[in-house]
């Protein structure tokens, strides 16, 4: 199932901090810290509760005054990668 049809949320078992230019996320047992900057940090702010992928894209489109479809095409691989790194969870 494509990510566009699913709910996305931050994983509850990660450690994180906001910084002046992004968000740092550390997955316990992981190798390093993942840094989310720019749209990635804005994405993190949207994921504090389960949210549908299209709703995230719509929210970011509003915030950044951008096209939601363009954001969706950029964001889908990012979310997949963050899910692979156990930073976010995609509810299936």
């Amino acid at each position: 199932m494509p990510v566009s049809a699913e709910h996305v949320i931050r994983r509850g078992d990660v450690l994180w901090r906001a910084t002046l230019d992004g968000v740092l996320v550390r997955v316990p047992g992981g190798d390093d810290v993942v840094k989310l900057a720019g749209t990635g940090a804005a994405l993190w702010a949207e994921l504090d509760e389960p949210i549908r992928f299209h709703a995230v894209c719509a929210a970011l489109a509003r915030t950044h005054d951008a096209n939601a479809e363009r954001i969706a095409s950029d964001l889908a691989p990012v979310i997949d990668e963050l899910a692979d790194k156990a930073v976010v969870q995609i509810d299936r």
Binding site: T19, L24, R26, P28
Partner: protein, 361 residues
Amino acid sequence: MLTRPWCRSIDEEAWLARLAAYGLPGAPPIDGLPEDASDLLFHTARHKLIGMLAAAVAEGGVTLEDDGIAQVARAHEGAMRESLLLEEVLLEALTVLDEAGIDHRVLKGSALAHTVHPDPVERSYGDNDILLDLGDVDRGVAALIEAGAVRPMPPLSPTFDRGFAKSVTLCWHGPSELDIHRTLAAGPYGHTIRLADLTRDPVEFALAGRMIRTLPPDLHLLHGAIHVALGDVEARLGNVGDLALLAAHPEVDLDTVAAAQEWQCAAPVAVGLRTTAELGHDRTPLEDWAHEYEVSSLDRRRLAAYADRDGRFRRQARASRRVLSWRDRVAFSRALLVPSRANRAARDRSQPMSLRGRQPD
């Protein structure tokens, strides 16, 4: 008056004090960074204030040029990366203690970041501190060592950790320091604190989906004041700022003084709290109490045991003997005079450690 020799000027010290007061009622405004801010940023981090600076920049409390913001952002990111690593180590340590059935309270840095500061990004820290019931100290240390922690300095005697030590220092994951506390202070005041009080009314905070127990704000304040008064010869302004934040906490009031008095710790608590005057914020009733408190001659003698670095442990040991029971005094003195072989070997000493020696864990 310049009170910290590392500051280049009174203005520099005053700037750091204003930063420590950021967000407190009546706190004075903070100027921007000077053009060459590298030294000041170094001292900001040294005083555990880089998080306060980042928060002030983010909220417009400090106005900086782009270069300045970039410098602060880099320094803050480094501190937050370290804090996240320490929190991972903390979670591992707490898991080990949980599996051994040992109750615990997280002290200082991580706990203050999550329960006292409005946002944990404000507080950076450099180690982890965990308080155990004195009956669990030996078992807790053994469980952590079994799990991979390293104890650089073996105990002075088999009963020293649970009987007399302030804390046991362990290393885990390289240089990451983990202090397992039996009490909140070294020396005589560490022996007069009523340890059973420390486990009452725990507060919880969430860390990576787990609920972690720590002290309630009034006990954090007592610990913070004692630490500022007795811990470092030169108090860090981040710790002083924590103290002012705790004194203004809605759950902290003058009743806190009663616990300090019951612990025979009113003097160090008052001395610690007086340091917040440097911050220039609106004083709370608790800080007013501290300024009016008259230190007795007995407490002046006890407090003298913590002054200056040279001979500090010897003075603390002598002062500790005076507050211990006769039986404990014998065991304490024996441990200092004839430390364990492992301890001696670790210290690379051939002669018995005496009261002239340096401070153990």
